[in-house]
Amino acid sequence: MDSNRPLLIPSPRTPATQDLPYNTPDLLKPLSSSNPIIPAVSSMDSTNPIDNCPPLPHITSFNSSSSLQNLSSIQSKASVPMRYGSRGADSEALSISQKEINDEDARLIHVNDAGKTNDKFEFAGNSIRTGKYSILTFFPRNLFEQFHRVAYIYFLVIAVLNQLPQLAVFGRAASILPLAFVLLVTAVKDAYEDWRRHQSDRIENNRLATVLVNDQYQQKKWKDIRVGEIIKISASETIPCDMVLLSTSDPTGVAYIQTINLDGESNLKTRYAKQETLSKIPDKDKITGLIKCEKPNRNIYGFQANMEIDEKRVSLGPSNIILRGCEIKNTSWVVGVAVYAGQETKAMLNNSGAPSKRSRLETRMNREIILLSLFLVALCTVVSICAGVWLRRYKDELDYLPFFRKADFSEGEKDTYNYSGWGLEIFFIFLMSVIVFQIMIPISLYISMELVRVGQAYFMIRDTRMYDEASDSRFQCRALNINEDLGQIKYVFSDKTGTLTENKMEFQCASIWGVDYSDGKTNAQGEQAGYSAQVDRQVLRPKMKVKVDPELLRLSKSGKEGKHVHDFFLALAACNTIVPLVVETSEPTLRLLDYQGESPDEQALVYAAAAYGFVLIERTSGHIVIDVQGERHRYNVLGFARSSYETASTALIGRAALLRKVASYVETNLNILGASGIEDKLQQGVPEAIESLRMAGIKVWVLTGDKQETAISIGYSSRLLTGKMTQIIINNNSKESCKKSLEDALIMSKKLMTVSGAANKTEGSSGASVSSVALIIDGTSLVYILDTELEDKLFQLASKCSVVLCCRVAPLQKAGIVALIKKQDRRYDPCHWGCGQEGRQAVMASDFAMGQFRFLVPLLLVHGHWNYQRMGYMILYNFYRNAVFVLVLFWYVLFTCFTLTTAITEWSSVLYSVLYTSLPTIIVGILDKDLGRTSLLKYPQLYGAGQREEIYNAKLFWLTIMDTLWQSIVAFFLPLLAYWESTIDGSSIGDLWTLAVVILVNVHLAMDVIRWTWITHASIWGSIIATCICVIVIDAMPMFSGYWAIFHLAKTGLFWLCLIGISVGAMIPRFVVKLFVQYYRPSDIQIAREAEKFGNFREFGGAEIEMNPIFDPPRR
């Protein structure tokens, strides 16, 4: 059958497809009606919005042809090098379409000849392996992977050093224990995960598929499928590997697939077999051909190849390939040739998870870690210098010192020589002190941080206030290591469609043949029953109901008068890629029509057409069946401009340009039939959310493809803009004028700043009140600004504005804008979030994903704030906790002839950071809350604490270090002096120091805990009790020299007085400083906490509202 291929329209909402400028409509020739060819222009023109459609209170988005890529998907390209800079973003579009597949970059596949295909190049087989290890490789490989962490290497080096006999400070067991413990826990976790992966791999690999072997179809296990083989798949089967379609059950070569496993989208997508291969039946006439395609890559929306078949060269694109994991629907069978198998399939390549990132707090923390390393080196140097001086001074007497044994005078002969020489001796002492003071660098902190992040993520995910009932989706936390960044966000870049809006398109109004039908009163109730079509005594009804305009409805039914209306709706019903699905209902006679398609706009239009009596009933690639007012019409798809189109679409060089040429040839002398207005409602709570974000001092950037006026009105309705704001609008057509307006705007914003700055000295400290300047800039201006020297000016200006609205921006410009901020503000590391409404692809590429835009507010203001506050405190506390212990050890070394003896038993030294003090800080890091949810949401300004880095900064670090110094001095010297000139033995005073430090450290934490739940109580007091038990157990073992020491010690009053004295004395400075700061220089958080406790939040609120009046958006 000589079929006509429809020209493909890439779905406007498919991210990552190239924006080819051909909006070539399907061309129809009705068979049963005498209507002429309808040049349908409907719905494809964004430059002609119908201004009469009331834009408020909803966003009415005119179905725009420039696809609004969502932001996240743009950023997902970060994985591709070179594409990420602001430079280069624009040129990408061209480079891709003009790219020729070089032979060396290409993959050659001989169709139906797996042997030859795999002969030269060994392509991956189709068995997949998500499991990392086998039984044999587990041990070495897992260890290898674990030691990729610097922390473990540090552990290991220390442990190895300790094994050298002259450096052996701790026993072998004691020094290896912490490392072994951590390794074991991680290994067990990894092994379990891997075992589960292996199980699912086994199931996958053993599934069966029908493969052509020796010209006969046979069942074959998935894992045995090879590239080049021809595979047949029946309806509802899953595709085993990435395949190029050869033919389908549909005579025109259409196949419908569901990609829910791949990107989560449940609507059907159409894929096409090439006409050249359609008629071939592989098991009868032998197909031979050569497919030349690109190397395996992650882009699931892109594919470029060509196929040589029957001496002809055919181009293959993303619409010709079906991917592993998708399901065949509505098509009884398809036949395809495997091109990528196993690990090389796009699904598997995309399986690698989110790349790891480092939070801003952690980056800052690393600076302090370096400082701590310097402290460590300093301590060790002090010890070794002192030891060196000591050895020098007593050089002559070393002979007689029993412990150096330079001369053994008991026997009168020099038999042993225990002195390694001055230099070596000092060097050993240095290394030994590194071993003893090793926990100065808080390695356990990294492990604690990971545990805390897991805990925080658990609470974020379980938060019912971030649960979207409509889509039954919870908050998703895909990147685990940047939780605390959520508390320090400075910029929010947001797309409009699907992010701010629901992405549920609804047909609202239309203008047909120059007549606007939008002001008619829609009779929602009466007419909403909608239209239904009768087929074989069965009723077909569209699944969704659309409000209809009675006037339009009347016109569409009347023959002559409403000819244009008739044509208009016919075009709506016909010119699209929607596939109608018939769904059975409980009523035997009633069936529902479910319109499936990739574009929600098209869906809305088809449903609208159906409501006016133009019901799309069937679509194949060859014909369309439309029920027009009860009459069944069948339309065949015409081939049009085929030769030139095909030349263009198979071209490997300049494909886009050629296609553009074809488009311009087709799109001439068109009559505008009408325009449709589609409404996409703002998501619930968006204005409030944006207002909260603004008040929190977060700069909100909205990037939209709408034109300026529309964008501004959306800005008002979403409370992005308020009447109080000064608007700076930049829309220029040349670089010079851009420069000038940027400079003017900068001067103006500076003026505004000084006016407001005179009143407030703490400029920049609270973002919300500093400036209320809104920058509105359009895509044309951005073309002149991005990638030029004007970028700096734009950044300067933008950083002074609290709101930036970019209108008429192309998708690639959006990436450029984000890259600009990233480049200018180095501290900014993007954390991506995706909103459920944008489709799952956004979710796949994001770090955090949520169902609704408004969840951003609790995420940032509540969880982000908590996470940041917890993590910041935890880092400082861990520094303190380890340093105080190290310093106590250090002070003691000064009293042991600098020989690194520890009074504290080695087991206590080892258990200190593993057991004695680890749990409470993790619990507090997960559970503590400085403020309740209500207060944080009510007063978004409290978010400023994170932006101003109030919880973790250099000043606090140094204060902590000074506090640590004082506390260690008290903890060490109070017992030392109290037991001076006494019979105290090393083990006893060691036990006292152990207990003193552990109690001190836990009391310190207790003093800073804000919210005491029973878990906090249990962990803090439990740790102290556990420590006591451990000390008792260690002292109850006769093989240690400290046998029974603690019991003797506990009988004396002096011991108890020392403990109490240390706990109180060490805390006094910290407590006093805390007290005076809280009382006389309270932070916002402190005041809010007091208000929360004493319930005077209401007056609080009154004052606050005065400061930030909310104006109703002006209506136009």
Binding site: G171, Q941, Y1043, F1076, A1088, K1093
Partner: protein, 368 residues
């Protein structure tokens, strides 16, 4: 019941567990400071008082007990087997001392905590032979039971001796035991000897569990002039001087119990002490002091703890007074919204003026 579980579970996941949120209100602060002050000052006074009541006689004898002709070469004196090591000293009792009176010897600049003396790590690697100075100095296993007599690998160089080409362990082995203190003291009052009870000076736990009753000294300190001797017929568990010595001191200046005098000594009585000055501290400049001391609940004579408690208590009281003063001068209502940064900005200047008016110290603290 299940309802309860559900609610508590969701309360947990929503982070709404019932919680106590203490806030430092002026009332709490003042109470806490006063409370600490009230507790600490009496304790400090009591400690000082107890320490004051301890009567202590200290007599450093290492230099005095060397005859003047050896003053330039004390080492020769102490290392010679020919010299007379006994030395008589006279002590005056300053105040009445009630029994028991503890007799200690105090060593100074003696690093019993030197790591080469104080090791209990139980492994040796190849490198030991290359760097023999990493010898371990004691074997707790050997001390405990006869069965472990040969556990001397940590004791080098004082580990073994050769008997007809057979390595036999030294018991107790190691440098700590080897360096055992061996001066002796004899006390008399008006030519009447005062008994020094040397029973029970070591910990009971050490005597019973740590030092075996079946372990007898062997070849200990043989051939060393002036070295300590242990009676090879008495098991280690009864060698209390050794047990005391083996409990290594924490600090380079330490005391160890020598014995107990179980009679009262009256004020101004003169006691004569005959010291056998055997122990060599001269080689490393160590000092030896004889101590006679009573005890109190706080231990020996040491004012430090009392002073520390008085200081902390006094500091708290000072803080409470200054806080009350500041509170009266510049009260801040808790939770007052006008202090919020976004409300405070307009009168930031005023706030700074007030700050200057108060005190520079406060300003500095407020910076934090």
């Amino acid at each position: 019941m299940s309802l309860l579980v559900v609610t508590s579970n969701s309360r947990f996941t929503q982070q709404e567990l019932p919680a106590c949120k203490p806030i430092l209100t002026p009332g709490w602060v003042i109470t806490a400071f006063i409370f600490i002050g009230i507790i600490f000052i009496p304790i400090g006074l009591a400690s000082l008082f107890a320490s004051e009541n301890v009567v202590e006689i200290a007599d450093r004898y290492d230099e005095d007990c060397v005859p003047s002709i050896y003053a330039s070469d004390m080492l020769a004196y102490i290392r010679s087997s020919q010299t007379n090591k006994s030395c008589t000293k006279s002590l005056t009792v300053p105040k009445k001392m009630k029994n028991p009176i503890y007799v200690y010897y105090q060593l100074d600049n003696f690093y019993q905590n030197h790591r080469r003396l104080w090791e209990e790590v139980e492994f040796s690697l190849l490198l030991v032979s290359v760097f023999p100075d990493m010898s371990k100095s004691r074997s707790d296993k050997q001390l405990r039971s006869k069965a472990n007599e040969f556990e001397t690998k940590d004791c080098s160089p004082e580990a073994t001796f050769l008997v007809s080409n057979k390595e036999m362990p030294i018991v107790p082995c190691g440098l700590i035991a080897w360096s055992m203190f061996n001066d002796t003291y004899g006390f008399s009052l008006n030519d009447k000897a005062i008994q020094v009870n040397k029973k029970g000076i070591a910990w009971k736990s050490d005597r019973e569990y740590k030092f075996g009753s079946d372990v007898y000294p062997k070849k200990f300190q043989s051939g060393v002039i002036g070295g300590a001797k242990l009676d090879e017929n008495i098991p280690l568990s009864q060698q209390e001087d050794l047990i005391v010595w083996m409990r290594t001191a924490a600090l380079p200046k330490f005391r160890k119990l020598y014995g107990k005098i179980e009679v009262d000594l009256e004020a101004n009585e003169k006691i004569t002490v005959v010291i056998q000055n055997n122990y060599n501290t001269y080689s490393f400049g160590g000092k030896k002091t004889l101590i006679l001391s009573t005890t109190s609940w706080i231990g020996g004579k040491n004012d430090f703890l009392g002073i520390a408690y008085l200081t902390f208590g006094g500091l708290c009281l000072f803080m409470v007074i200054s806080f009350i003063f500041l509170y009266v001068v510049r009260p801040r209502p808790l939770g007052d919204p006008s202090y919020l940064s976004w409300n405070r900005n307009p009168d930031g200047l005023f706030a700074q003026l007030r700050c200057r008016f108060l005190s520079d110290i406060l300003c500095a603290m407020e910076e934090f």
